[in-house]
């Protein structure tokens, strides 16, 4: 783990996980990805606790790709927890979901999500979305400086 984690992928479904990773591999960012499989693990990672207590708030991932439907703690709860804590609220979070529910969209933005993407059904389009996503958040977007992640 010498290289900093650039993408935290929160995904419980193995198919989605494999397809997302497949798409990311095509664009050579797979080695900077960390995958967590449920909400609890995601929160542990983001709040540097449990198995991730060696991590620090000052070096968060450049972007979190968050599924909404997750075991134990769902995506909206994670979003709420991250965006209401001064140590983590600057971490960019992109919701990636297959849900078309209007209320998920509204609730996500109300919680302060940075981007909301509905996974295209068509895999070609999906790959294109992943490509653009990686390019945008890892290459174009200016990440928040470490001072944005204040210790309480």
């Amino acid at each position: 783990m010498s290289e900093p984690i650039e993408i935290l992928l929160v995904e419980d479904n193995p198919n989605d996980l494999e397809l997302t990773l497949h798409a990311l591999e095509k664009h050579n960012v797979a080695n900077k990805i960390h995958v967590v499989r449920d909400g609890e693990e995601a929160l542990d990672f983001l709040f540097c606790r449990g198995a991730f207590s060696h991590r620090t708030f000052e070096s968060p991932p450049k972007v979190v790709l968050l599924d909404l439907k997750l075991p134990k703690i769902d995506g909206l709860e994670i979003l709420r927890a991250v965006k209401s804590d001064p140590r983590t609220k600057a971490v960019p979070i992109v919701v990636m979901t297959s849900s078309k529910q209007q209320r998920d969209l509204v609730e996500s933005y109300n919680c302060g999500v940075n981007s909301y993407i509905q996974k295209p059904i068509n895999f070609t389009e999906f790959q294109e979305v992943i490509r653009q996503l990686g390019y945008y958040w890892l290459a174009i977007n200016q990440s928040p400086p470490p001072s944005a992640f204040k210790q309480p």
């Binding site: 479904n13 198919n15 989605d16 397809l19 497949h22 439907k69 979901t97 297959s98 849900s99 078309k100 529910q101 996974k119 059904i121 068509n122 895999f123 070609t124 999906f126």
Partner: protein
Amino acid sequence: MKLSDVPIRRKLTIVMMLTSLVALVLTAGAFTAYEFVSFRKNSLQSAQTIAQITAAQTSAAVDFDDERTAHDILAKLHAEPAILQAAVYDRSGKLLAHHPADSPASNFPISEEPGSHFEASALRIFTPVELDNRVIGSLYMKWDLRPAYGRFRLYGLMVFCVLLGSSAVALVLSHWLQDRISRPILELAATARSISFKRDYLVRAKKFGNDELGSLTDGFNHMLTQIHQRDAALHENQEKLQHALETAERAADAVRALNGELEQRVERRTAELQSANRELEAFTYSVSHDLRSPLRHIDAFAQILEEEHEKQLSAEGKRCVSRIRGGVQNMGNLVDDLLNLSRVGRAELQKELVPLSPVVEEALADLRTETKDRVIEWSIAPLPAAYCDRGLVKQIFVNLISNSVKYTRPRLRAVIEIGSISIDGGNGFFVRDNGVGFNMKYVAKLFGVFQRLHRPEEFEGTGVGLATVQRIVHLHGGRIWAEAELDKGATFYFTLGQASLPEKMS
């Protein structure tokens, strides 16, 4: 006590007594006055006559200044006791003789001018004594009027007695007469009072004659009969009303009980419905999420197979993968359409006045991918505004126009017409095409969910689009129907209920 409060019996008596008394007093007063005046006149006349005779007799004595003769003549007046005094004066006013002779001369007045005047109880007269039409002296005479006044008093007393007697008779008469008038009235009053106390409308007032009071009594009795009848009817109605009221009260109780029950039931049902709605929403959510995800996976892996493992696949293998992806595509559309249908079913209408021409333009823009490679002759009339849910009505146009585009595909020159017509006094809208149409005997199946009139190889579709359109139209309180002929084309008409009523707006 005011006269109006006096009992009628006494009132009648008073009236009769007053009238008779006034008449009597006036009559008696007139008689008495007349008697008094004529009495004085008679007294004066006779006194003057005697005075003039006496004056004539004494004229010679006065002329000769013969006191003795004058005295003798005056002494004869003794025969008339009413003559209190008499005196004769000569021309110079000297007292010549007087009567009574024994009375001192100082008791007699000095001679005065001729004339007469009445004193309290006496009459004084001065008469000239004349000889050959010459006044040679004067005669004085004083008459006692007391006996005369005594007679007059007696007369007055008699008149008073007559007055009293007449009044007594009038009183008796009036008493008797007023009874004739007042008794029927009093009887009537007593009857009325007793009726008003006892409420016994069978009592009748006694009739005393056929005069006005008799008719009044008849009228009163007739009125009683009517009141009795009305009372009976009223009583009956009251009982009926009471009965009806009781029935109504019982019904109201029942209704209240039912209402309570109904309310509870409605609450229960509402709760059930809400929970059902929540379940439905959860179901919709899971369909959208859970059903779509595996589809996406199947398609994605099939695509990876197709693109990255092409070399390992035989021609048949490739065909199979392609069929898998086609099936996934179909199912994806089906899930989308079903979700859309269920969303429409649950939608709350957001009605506003919507100009429909821009809505149709938007619908056409949405369908651009389907129409870009086609030759279609559009005929779109200006549409009026409608009071409706903009998004849902746009969906109607999208679905209907997309159908027309789809089913005109075999035509080299497709013609699609959109317009409005007047239906049921309001605006109706239609989408017409010259496509493949359908047989009208299947028209009933047209709007059913999953109902299709074409094989999928001919025209793709899920059989949900028209069902969705129908649901939106029904939500608006409108209706939808179709006319078609096989191989000639189809026309779909719809209204938006009250929404599409008046107001033309291009």
